[in-house]
């Protein structure tokens, strides 16, 4: 039997031997975490302006638990009554329509309907319904195929397996996945129980609080295109079922005739007969709030205030106080509260505009939560005063830019939250106070002049393009204005602005033309003809909106959307338009070539979202297209190497969701980063295969991304989770098939800089979001073919002389691993006292130089080198560093010397006691020696008190440690005062050392001799080397 098992083992090992080597032809394709290993994205917010919140939900019994669904940042849960929130849905699509807590198991079971239902032009998409059975730790997608926007999920109050789903459905095209769905098996199978047509979806589904057979469905006919919006039609209406959804009847008694638009509806939780509805209709005088007191059979119009009827597609929600049917709140531009059953309304207090949902606390109606375009607000006094939740970083960036400062800054514009810039690193973390506003309204592209303190920003269709002088704190608007002979200039809502890589003062702006200025926007000239299709049918925005006119500028179309000047040749400029054109000039705009027709496989008029001119080759560029406004969710990204004559698609089936932006690596042309609706994808082989990056990277829409040339960071503008940075992507540059087939591979790295800073950190409270800083540690980066599970694995660092400097824990994941070294060696071994000496917790930093890295992995050893350099911008000189190091080392050594002296004292004290106990004749000399030893010890180290205000008077150890820490923790050489203090301490140190030597050689040697003669043995005293080794 044993022989057989050994044989099996041998066979197994042999077969593995033949299988494991990678043949030259075999391509290794690693995906996701197995490739990216330890590389983690860094989410830096900001959260001070937060972002759009689409839905709020309460736990039915526990007022501490609240859920917030967001427009593009997933689901957030509060466990502390709304004081702070945490994300619980990062791995899934981040656009949320609704969150529903199962009343049968409210602690654990929660449903999330994805796809926001507030259908503005920039709205993201959902992909169905998800369920958690453990309070949000794990989620499962329910099989409701084709779902795009879920308006409501209702769990039957008497049967947890019966679910109703309101499906608004597709915004940009026809869809049969619309209406009301029912499941009787907990979501495993679904029946569409109420369907009207491919254009009409369920905008709201509610249930009578007392009778689960009574359902109300607000059905809405709606459609958006890239250039228009339509709300309303003959199919819109409010419907009621009294038999659990089998049959539906339209409620119309009291409502206006003709077409209807989006209808908000609510039933009072405390009285099922009272319903409220806000109606959008053909005539504005008929729009407004209607109330029914007979469960929907008849309706009476009560009020048509602006706050109630404004933008129904964006604000159709009514929430009734759970205790009082006459208190209701309507979502809106500022929100509206009625306390008289809907007769009159007033605005709640100050908060961010654009309110989408309201939540009453389950016990106290004075406590409310508001979902706004700028985060969650809470009130404790019925909506009079409001306070923002400061830790929900769901800001929605459209674009970003970086500068060359150290640390670099990030510039970008946000949906309804202006334009901002903030640092990639800040003492104590990136706080709200680190961000600076540089624009109002909806912000988009924000750019920094490469050599002057000038920022360009814009709002809403170039309504304003600001040139802001940071130093003078002066702004001027500079957008190109029409001049004689011009047609109406058509600017996209998100109008393109770009800078020249070669001419710092040059700036481009796109309308239907490309405008160029060589003097920072004072003078403009058009350098192109109309580059768009100029399709007049797509330019009737004045009549956009449907029943309620909605001409905000957001639907402006047939515009230039992206402009890029090549960094290799200033005469090469690329332009892409929202109606699908790609145009290029090679002579600074004298002649443009429309190369769109050369892109095979791209549907006509697909929005060109981004063109990336290669930094490696003049003729090479990447064009990224977004077809979702044509209801086409496929990814489109093409590469040309011949100025657009031919194009190759570089997308694969690996990519889920449509695409918006690409970033080419500055070093390895095959390394590309793709921003998609569902997150970040990376290819290391020029697009042959793509891998989704998910390490601390939510599945949020990446609208734009840039790479920083000095730090090799990829910085992403996400439309729902703020700015996310993937620090130092350089390891990805080295990944080839050959390296992927190695067991272990160390990545090359630039020398690491020891930053000589020591500030005080930040000032945020625990309820405020603080973005993590870039990790400035030295990093040992390596690739492991397989996760290390069995046997020892560690990393040792040695200096040039071969001295062991530090042992580090190894990272063991499959893929890329990163081990950090904070530049510290180890703390000195301190003398043992009654209390701690806090100065002794300081470790010295290493000096710049080359260090040998030895990885021990099982029986194998692998080696590389790590280079540390000093900060070239530091004001500390080489001589000063040398002095700092020498004094630090001297104090370190003195601390360890003292530790050994105190150990010797303790051993002698113990020895004397032992001797006196064994030999009474030694008591007199012994007690004399003990007295001297104790006196010496009491002056060497604290022997009484505690670690706080009960502390004893500091002795030599404490004074030495305090000075050591003071010097070692900084970077500058010791001051004169510190050196004088050192002299004083050293004098006392030397005195004590001499005294101990004298006692050791004198009375203690004599007593030991006496003991030895009498046969008394003493425990061995450790040598200093052994003592220092002992932990």
């Amino acid at each position: 039997m044993k022989k057989l098992s050994l044989l099996a083992l041998l066979l197994m090992a042999t077969s593995l031997l033949f299988l494991s080597p990678i043949s030259a032809q075999e391509t290794i394709t690693l995906k996701g975490k197995e490739l990216f290993g330890d590389m983690r994205a860094r989410q830096i917010g900001p959260a001070l302006m937060s972002g759009r919140i689409s839905d709020l939900e309460a736990h039915p019994n526990n007022p501490r638990i609240i859920y917030a669904g967001t427009a593009g940042g997933g689901v957030w849960k509060s466990n502390n009554g709304g004081a702070s929130f945490q994300p619980i849905f990062d791995d899934y699509i981040q656009s949320i329509g609704t969150v529903t807590v199962d009343p049968h198991d409210p602690d654990n079971t929660v449903y999330v309907g994805t796809g926001e239902t507030w259908t503005r032009n920039s709205v993201s998409l959902g992909d169905g319904v998800y369920k958690t059975s453990d309070g949000g730790q794990n989620w499962k997608k329910l099989p409701l195929d084709g779902s795009e926007r879920v308006s409501d999920i209702i769990v039957h109050p008497k049967n947890k397996d019966v679910l109703f789903v309101g499906e608004l459905g597709a915004l940009w095209g026809d869809s049969e996945t619309r209406g009301v769905y029912k499941s009787e098996d907990g979501g495993q199978t679904w029946d569409n129980i109420f369907y009207i047509d491919q254009k009409t979806g369920c905008a709201e589904l509610i249930m009578d609080p007392n009778d689960p057979n009574i359902l109300y469905a607000s059905m809405w006919e709606f459609r958006r295109t890239a250039w228009s919006f339509n709300s309303g039609g003959s199919k819109s209406g409010l419907f009621k079922s009294v038999d659990g959804g089998k049959n539906w009847k339209e409620l119309r008694n009291g409502f206006p005739s003709g077409k209807l638009g989006r209808i908000a509806v609510a039933v009072a939780p405390s009285d099922g007969n009272i319903l409220y509805a806000v109606i959008e209709s053909e005539k504005t005088e008929n729009n407004g709030l209607y109330r029914s007191d007979d469960a929907g059979n008849s309706w009476k119009r009560l009020n048509g205030d602006f706050g109630l009827v404004v933008r129904p597609f964006y604000f159709s929600r009514i929430v009734v106080d759970p205790k009082n049917p006459d208190v209701l709140v309507k979502a809106g531009l500022f929100g509206s509260i009625s306390r008289d059953g809907g007769k009159t309304f007033k605005d709640p207090g100050n908060m961010h505009a654009d309110i989408h949902d309201i939540l009453f606390d389950i016990n106290d109606s004075d406590r409310m939560y508001f979902a706004t375009d700028g985060g969650v607000y809470r009130t404790w006094d019925g909506g009079s005063t409001l306070d923002i939740v400061s830790n929900i970083p769901v800001s929605q960036f459209y674009h970003l830019a970086l500068d060359n400062e150290e640390p670099y800054n990030i510039y970008g514009g946000l949906q309804d939250n202006g334009s901002w810039y903030g640092p990639s690193h800040s003492p104590g973390g990136i706080e709200a106070r680190d961000w600076n506003r540089v624009g109002y309204g909806d912000g988009f592209r924000v750019l920094r002049h490469s050599s002057k303190p000038i920022i360009y920003s814009e709002m809403q269709g170039a309504e304003n393009v600001w040139r802001y002088d940071i130093e003078r704190n002066q702004q001027k608007t500079i957008q190109p204005l029409p001049v004689k002979g011009d047609p109406k200039l058509r600017y996209n809502w998100n109008a393109p602005i770009s800078l020249s890589p070669s001419k710092p003062d040059r700036i481009y702006i796109g309308s239907q033309f490309v405008h160029m200025s060589e003097d920072m926007g004072n003078t403009w000239k058009k350098i192109s003809k109309d580059l768009t299709t100029n399709d007049k049918k797509k330019q009737d925005q004045e009549n956009s909106g449907g029943l309620s006119k909605d001409n905000s500028g957001a639907e402006n179309h047939c515009t230039v959307f992206t402009i890029t000047e090549s960094s290799l040749d200033e005469n090469i400029v690329w332009a892409g338009t929202d109606d699908g054109n790609v145009q290029v000039t090679k002579n600074g705009g004298k002649k443009w070539s429309n190369v769109t027709k050369n892109i095979k496989g791209l549907p006509a008029n697909t929005w060109c979202y981004h063109i990336e001119a290669s930094v490696h080759d003049k003729g090479t560029a990447y064009a990224v297209f977004d077809g979702h406004t044509k209801n086409d969710k496929n990814p489109y990204c093409f590469k040309t190497t011949d100025f657009g004559k031919t194009w190759t698609s570089i997308t694969t089936n690996d990519i889920k969701g449509f695409t918006r932006s690409i970033q080419e690596d500055f070093v390895n042309p095959d390394l590309l980063f793709l921003g998609t609706e569902t997150g970040l994808y990376i290819t290391i082989n020029g697009g042959t295969s793509w891998s989704k990056f998910t390490n601390n990277m939510p599945s949020t829409a990446v609208h734009h991304l840039e790479m920083h040339p000095q730090t090799n960071d990829v910085v992403m503008a996400t439309h729902g989770r703020g700015i996310i940075i993937l620090d130092d992507i350089s390891p990805l540059r080295e990944l080839t098939n050959e390296i992927l087939s190695k067991d272990v591979h160390f990545f090359n790295s630039e020398p690491f800089t020891l930053i000589e800073e020591s500030g005080f950190g930040g000032s945020s409270t625990e309820l405020q979001f603080v973005g993590p800083n870039r990790n400035r540690n030295a990093k040992i980066m390596y690739y492991l073919k397989k996760r290390h599970i069995f046997g020892k694995m560690k990393i040792d660092l040695y200096d040039q002389q071969g001295n062991h400097v530090k042992e580090l824990s190894a990272s063991k994941a499959k893929g890329i691993n990163i081990v950090n070294w904070d530049y510290f060696t180890t703390t000195p071994k301190m003398a043992k006292g009654k209390t701690f000496t806090f100065g002794g917790f300081t470790a010295p930093r290493i000096q710049a130089g080359t260090y040998k890295v030895v990885m021990t992995k099982g029986k194998e050893k692998y080696e590389t080198e790590l280079v540390i350099k000093y900060d070239e911008t530091s004001l500390v000189s080489a001589d000063e560093r040398k002095q700092h190091h020498e004094v630090t080392q001297k104090l370190f050594n003195m601390s360890e010397d003292l530790a050994y002296q105190v150990y010797q004292m303790d051993e002698m004290i113990s020895g004397v006691n032992h001797l006196m106990g064994s030999l009474s004749s030694t008591e007199k000399e012994g007690n004399e020696l003990l007295k001297k030893l104790n006196t010496l010890k009491e002056s060497s180290v604290i022997t009484t008190g505690d670690n706080y205000v009960g502390a004893a008077e500091p002795q030599l150890r404490e004074k030495l440690a305090a000075l050591y820490s003071k010097v070692a923790s900084g970077f500058v050489p010791p001051s004169t005062s510190e050196l004088e203090n050192l002299a004083l301490i050293e004098e006392r140190f030397n005195k004590g050392k001499k005294e101990l030597e004298a006692l050791n050689k004198g009375p203690w040697a004599k007593l030991k001799d006496v003991g030895a003669i009498a046969g008394v043995t003493f425990p061995k005293v450790l040598s200093k080397t052994d003592f220092l080794k002992k932990s």
Binding site: N79, N696, I909
Partner: protein, 261 residues
């Protein structure tokens, strides 16, 4: 002896490799895990485990000693500058910690104690005898654990009490799909400012100790965030315990400086 155990381990590894190709149940995965690490019987015979470990923090190498007993008694001893701080000490009656400022023992809250009492019997882990303990175990499926295929199991323990409210106590375990060893564990932080975050513990560097395979390296931290490595230098089974160390003392559990007379 050691050699023969290693051969057995490798044989089991081979057998388990075949098992991994088939559909699994939670119990099969658990059986495979215990077989791979020494056998259920051997694990059930362990009375206590003592870990000697260290953590690195800002240049400090902090020695740690952790003891866990089958009867629920436990302590963690952390040493700074030769002084010992005791944490999560349970002597069979009291649960206590050393106050860092006064160096004196202070009792944990009644709620902490009652929650701790719920875990007595979860030795060496809550999985070994989960059925007897009245826990529920489910296989959630296969999932990537930091790039390595793993089976994910959910363990539902007895409800605990947090800030006066009863809450469900669940833990998630990841077993490597090839070798069936435990790669990691996750649980939600139930109280304090980190409440709601997912805590993750990883296990690696499995080595043999008296016939059992034990992880000699751990990391503890927030899932997807920063974590603290714990390097285990020695693991001992069935050690003779100094019971006095766990008894709730009237005074500081600090080793006083040498006596003076």
């Amino acid at each position: 002896m050691i050699k023969s155990i290693k051969s057995t381990f490798l044989f089991l590894f081979v057998s388990l490799f075949a098992l991994s190709l088939n559909a699994q149940s939670a119990d099969e995965i658990l059986d495979a895990y215990y077989e791979a690490t020494g056998g259920r019987d051997a694990w059930n015979k362990v009375e206590n485990m003592k870990y000697t470990a260290k953590v690195n923090q800002g240049g400090m190498e902090i020695p740690i000693e952790m003891v866990e007993c089958k009867d629920g008694r436990s302590y963690t001893k952390v040493s700074f500058q030769g002084l010992n701080i005791l944490q999560d000490v349970y002597d069979g009656k009291d649960l206590w910690n050393t106050n860092f400022q006064t160096m004196k023992a202070e009792k944990a809250t009644s709620e902490d104690l009652s929650n701790h009492n719920l875990t007595i019997g979860d030795f060496p882990d809550p999985l070994l005898n989960y059925k007897k303990r009245g826990y529920k175990l489910e296989l959630l499926g296969k999932e990537s654990f930091d790039g390595t295929d793993a089976f994910k199991l959910k363990l539902t323990k007895k409800p605990m009490t947090v800030d006066g409210k009863e809450v469900e106590d669940t833990e998630y375990y990841y077993f490597e799909a090839e070798s069936f060893v435990l790669l990691g564990q996750e649980m939600e932080v139930k109280s304090g400012p980190m409440k709601g975050l997912i805590q993750q513990i990883t296990f690696s560097e499995y080595q043999e100790v008296d016939g059992l395979y034990v992880a000699f390296a751990m990391t503890q931290g927030e899932k997807g965030g920063q974590s603290q490595p714990i390097m285990i230098e020695k693991v001992e089974l069935n050690v003779e315990l100094d019971e006095s160390i766990m008894a709730f003392p009237e005074e500081a559990p600090v080793e006083a400086p040498a006596d003076k007379k």
